[in-house]
Amino acid sequence: MKKLSFFDANASVGRIGHPHLLDIPDAAGLEKEMARAGIEEALVYHLMSVHGDAPLGNSMLLKEIEGHANLIPAWIVLPHHTGEMPKPKELLALMKDKGVRAARMYPTRAMHNFSLEEWCAGDLLDALEEKRVPLMLDTEIVSWEDVHRVLTNHPELPVIMTNCTYRFNRYLYPMFEKFENLHVEMSRFMGQCCIEDVVARFGARTLVFGTNLPQYTGTAAVGRLTYADIEWKDKEAIASGNLKAILKESWR
């Protein structure tokens, strides 16, 4: 059987107060759902980091995925000013030491309640950019104006947009025209032929495979990509190659 190798950019462990359906708090449960869909690896964050406390969740993540070599840690990060997290250079050193390969931010008042503007998050964005550590931003959380400003001010920072729905092409296309460091994780990028259209216009480098497991099923994203009307090499790039290339560039 000819099969793509899938590397999920957007999976989580931990319990959430408002689950979509299943309670799958641990790494073993996540791996079971990954196996059902045929997904081999995942970049994983902890739900406690998003909906409880970021430092606590980050430490719980490392404990939960210990011994699971196919689960790669991503941390939720905050600016350092309140002392909840170390200063950016120290934070980055800690992340490298712990094998953390990506950062996620949840600014805006309803979530982690800080600004993505330079006066607040600029030092942290600088540090991530210097080490080329990918930053993952949730489209439901940040505005496209924020994303545009981050990409403009930090042209070497790889930015991966999660939760990017099929309705956003009118924002995305002008950004893809301008920024090579912008990528979209495809778990909600489910508009008819959107993958084909984006690959034809901007190339396969723009997209990375993702599922939002175990809140969403991974089987939908797998079916979307395997049946895509694009070349096999482009499917391979989206399934795992692009994310691996982004991670390879980090910590240099």
Binding site: H20, Y166, G191, Q192, C193, Q215, Y216, V222, R224
Partner: protein
């Protein structure tokens, strides 16, 4: 490994399986860019993943002109016989026109369903102006697809749909999207109470384990395949049903057997 897993991983249609999509649309929509929203592309995408037949209602019929939507639907089903089937769109704000549209549409035997989009029309499912529509559907025991999203929806919540299902037991109520990503438990609860409620799998934020839950709690005989094509791409839904942790028979029921049993495709 099984036939579904191998076909989906290789990106080829599942052999011998002619899928029937009961929830689709056609044409552009004001709120988003659809790269190619027309029928020829829909057919190409259907072929790519093994969908044989699709029942659709044009997207601009919900927030704009439902008569223009039905015009496009009737024209398009003539162009693609055996592949595309119609859902006649109605709008309770136009009660007489809606009933006359139903008479016009159902003269064509390739129109197999009614479509109601309460959030777009801002006409409650329980609005008295809907009565003629329900009587038409009831007399003919028609499938009626209702868009449902989140339980707090004042126009077309799952609970409102259930109250109509109690009042009109001869209508086959297809619960579009089953209330969205947080609607799984309540949709199952209502389907367990009311045998004339059917569950639609169409969803872009599909919870892990949802299909397994539906089949376990309601039975695969009342779960129908749908995609939202071309609003959404249909291929994720093929992956979702094909790779679900349910039996082959359950998958066949969802993919096609239920639609063939409950609607007539000429």
């Amino acid at each position: 490994m099984n036939e579904f897993y191998e076909a989906i991983q290789e990106g080829r249609p599942i052999e011998g399986l002619d899928i029937i999509d009961m929830h689709a649309h056609l044409g552009p929509y004001y709120n988003m860019h659809v790269p190619d929203p027309w029928a020829a592309r829909m057919i190409r995408v259907m072929d790519r993943c093994g969908i044989a037949k699709t029942v659709f209602s044009p997207s601009f019929g919900f927030d704009a002109d439902f008569v223009a939507g039905n015009d496009l639907m009737l024209k398009t089903i003539e162009e693609y016989p055996g592949r595309l089937y119609g859902a006649a769109t109605v709008n309770g704000n136009y009660p007489e026109l809606s009933v006359s549209e139903l008479h016009r549409a159902f003269e064509n035997p390739r129109v197999v369903m009614i479509k109601i989009h309460p959030v777009s029309s801002k006409c409650k499912l329980s609005d008295r102006r809907m009565k003629g529509i329900y009587e038409f559907a009831s007399e003919r025991k028609l499938f009626t697809l209702v868009h449902t999203w989140l339980e707090g929806d004042p126009w077309g919540s799952m609970d409102l749909m259930a109250s109509m299902a109690r009042e009109y037991p001869d209508i086959r109520w297809l619960m579009g999207h089953c209330g969205g990503p947080y609607g799984s438990y309540h949709s199952v609860e209502l389907a367990q109470e009311l045998p004339n409620i059917f569950l639609d799998v169409t969803l872009s934020m599909a919870p892990a384990g949802q299909l397994e839950f539906f089949v376990r709690e309601v039975g695969s005989e009342r779960v129908l395949f749908g995609t939202d094509n071309p609003f959404l791409d249909p291929r994720p839904q093929v992956g979702r049903v094909g790779l679900a942790g349910i039996s082959r028979e359950d998958k066949m029921n969802i993919f096609r057997n239920n639609a063939l049993r409950l609607a007539k495709f000429v």
